[in-house]
């Protein structure tokens, strides 16, 4: 039982630690990149002090996480302020939803905004529990066709579509 608790806590803390490390790594990389390109004061005037403060704050957060973990692992998750436990949604649904979103964005250029949008909405509806075939097919088409037509009319640059909308 204790093993299970500790394991659950560590997953939450691991996520928090990963986010802080992500922010720190980004800041360090950005500082190095900016320094390599040009080490003049003008180039680093804002970036350097801001980057250093980010590093200091990042290490303070890591130290706090480790300190709280060291005090008592069982209460760690509630003390690590802000870890969103209120959303109450199924984590898997969110992850699958994000994966769908990634596929949707990267398919836009290849299959067109209209087709990609219709497939994305249809699959998302299915993911969120819609079972009626009529809704799964008709709603995506009913939403995407006028939307795509509106954007092709309004945008002054080429808008990739599967169907030949007149621009």
């Amino acid at each position: 039982m204790l093993f299970l608790k500790v394991k659950r806590i560590n997953v939450g803390v691991l996520g928090d630690l990963l986010v802080v490390f992500g922010l720190i790594i980004f800041s360090v990389w950005y500082l190095i990149d900016a320094y390599i390109v040009s080490n003049t004061i003008e180039n680093l005037l804002l970036i350097l002090p801001v980057g250093i403060i980010v590093l200091v704050l990042g290490f303070v957060i890591i130290w706090r996480i480790l300190k709280i973990l060291g005090e008592n692992q069982c209460v760690a998750i509630s003390k690590l302020k802000g870890i969103d436990s209120e959303s109450g949604n199924n984590g898997c649904t969110t992850i699958y939803g994000m994966c769908l979103f990634v596929c949707f964005v990267f398919s836009l250029e290849f299959i067109g905004f209209d087709l990609a949008g219709a497939i994305f909405i249809g699959l998302y509806l299915r993911l969120l529990g819609e079972r009626r075939i009529g809704v799964l097919v008709l709603y995506p088409l009913g939403f995407i066709l006028p939307t795509t037509y509106f954007f092709t009319l309004m945008l002054p640059y080429p808008f990739e579509t599967f169907l030949p909308f007149k621009q």
């Binding site: 996520g15 928090d16 986010v19 802080v20 922010l23 980004f26 800041s27 950005y30 990149d33 900016a34 390109v37 040009s38 004061i41 003008e42 180039n43 005037l45 804002l46 970036i47 801001v50 403060i53 980010v54 704050l57 990042g58 303070v60 957060i61 302020k81 802000g82 870890i83 969103d84 959303s87 109450g88 949604n89 199924n90 969110t94 939803g97 994000m98 979103f101 949707f104 964005v105 836009l108 250029e109 905004f113 949008g117 994305f120 909405i121 998302y124 509806l125 969120l128 529990g129 819609e130 709603y139 939403f143 995407i144 939307t147 795509t148 309004m154 945008l155 002054p156 640059y157 808008f159």
Partner: protein
Amino acid sequence: MFDFSAMQQAIELLSSSFSPWLVVVPGILIGLIFGAVPGLQISMAMAIFLPVTMSMSFLQSMLFLTAVFTGGSFGSGVTAILMNIPGSSSAIATTFDGHPMALQGRHNQALGIALGASSFGVSLGYILLFFLIQPMSIAVLNFGPAEMFMVVLWGLTMIASLQGDHMIKGLISGLVGILVGTIGFNDLGVLRGTMGINLLMDGVPVVPAMMGMFAASELFNLLGKKYMVESDEDRKVDISGIIDGFRTAFRYPVILIRGALIGLTVGAVPGVGSSVSNILSYIETKRRDKDPQSFGTGNPKGVVASEAANSSSEAGSMATLLALGIPGGGATAVMFAAFSMHNITGGPQFIREEIDIVYAIIFANFAQVFLLIILGLAFLPVLVSIVKVPIKILVPSVLCLAVFGAFGLTGNMAGPVTLLVFSILGWLLKRYGYSIAAMVVGILLGKMAESELLHSYQISGGEMGYLLERPVAMTILFLLLFSLFGKKLKGAIFGKIRWTLRW
């Protein structure tokens, strides 16, 4: 100070024929639609419809374009409240309290408040413009990089007040936002942080990033619910609720006036405009309130502050355009193009020779406010119906619309990809208690802050004493420090006096 014969001519221009007014209603509707569709910008609407103004008289074209501007300023607040997607950067602060109100089933009231505050902001902005157009145009000329940096610095202090549950996490997200905001070419032509991606040369597209962070973090969290507002009772679309909200806005006259003044002043500064004014107004309202903790949880005052400021910015940007011939932002740049199309150049000469036209534009905007109220009240019930849409339909549709809009903003895949990256980042940050709002403010102001700081550094040659020679910059710095520490200072002084008197 006033040219009464020019005023009379202006009224004659507006009342002698009905034709100038024919373009106002379509203009407001176009603005409302473009403002309310995520990703479609007011400046984009104005640019698309600019060729139409070729066939119009100069006055008619100005009325049309200002109507689009007015409608768009309000429209961008609608999506900010209902979907947590600010239609433009001028509605960022509207999301902070507007969307929590919508989630609590107070969407009717929130939209009514936004309409009331926007109408007031536009009216007061133009009234002040009427009185102050000439002195304002002179004052704006005194704004150099040091002053602009002070204004941006004021905006950046917002990061500290958007800390959320955890101060350090709030600060770090705001500061990382500043770093992200500086990616791409800086003013010296140095390219940083693009990872070799050409699409990032101009920097991270701010609006798609903002849409991703705000919308996705909220939409992904809604997945466990059936509707945005759970209770059937609260999902009602209620015109009386909207009207009640409209009245509520006027229960906070100080916030309205302060917001409108901030909007007008900041809006008049070229390049800063409404994207900063709504944030400044929000910070000041939060700081001065007796219960600052209630902000961010659905406090109507937050919506009033933001909407009053972003609406009055329109009058501020018109001041610089009319009096100096300098477009302060995207929307006024399109108006500037309309000036050129009619062979007119803004500036002191224009004010001197065509003051009747200037007065006509100002008077017409008062009338536009009434039309905005009527059209807003007519269309809001339709827009509010979004809370009745089941989440399983709403989430993919809004995500899809946001992706289309992000493409519309950039014209290439940089928009959708930025939206995607910042959606995931926003969801992660929200899940682990980092302030998304602080990061968005950082991204928005980062480039501006670096640019103004660099110009100040170059002009001053690195001498800090340069600041002391800039009275306007020192005044802004003093106001900034006073707004930050004024309350504590007052408390300390009065506490000491009371302590001395007791002895």
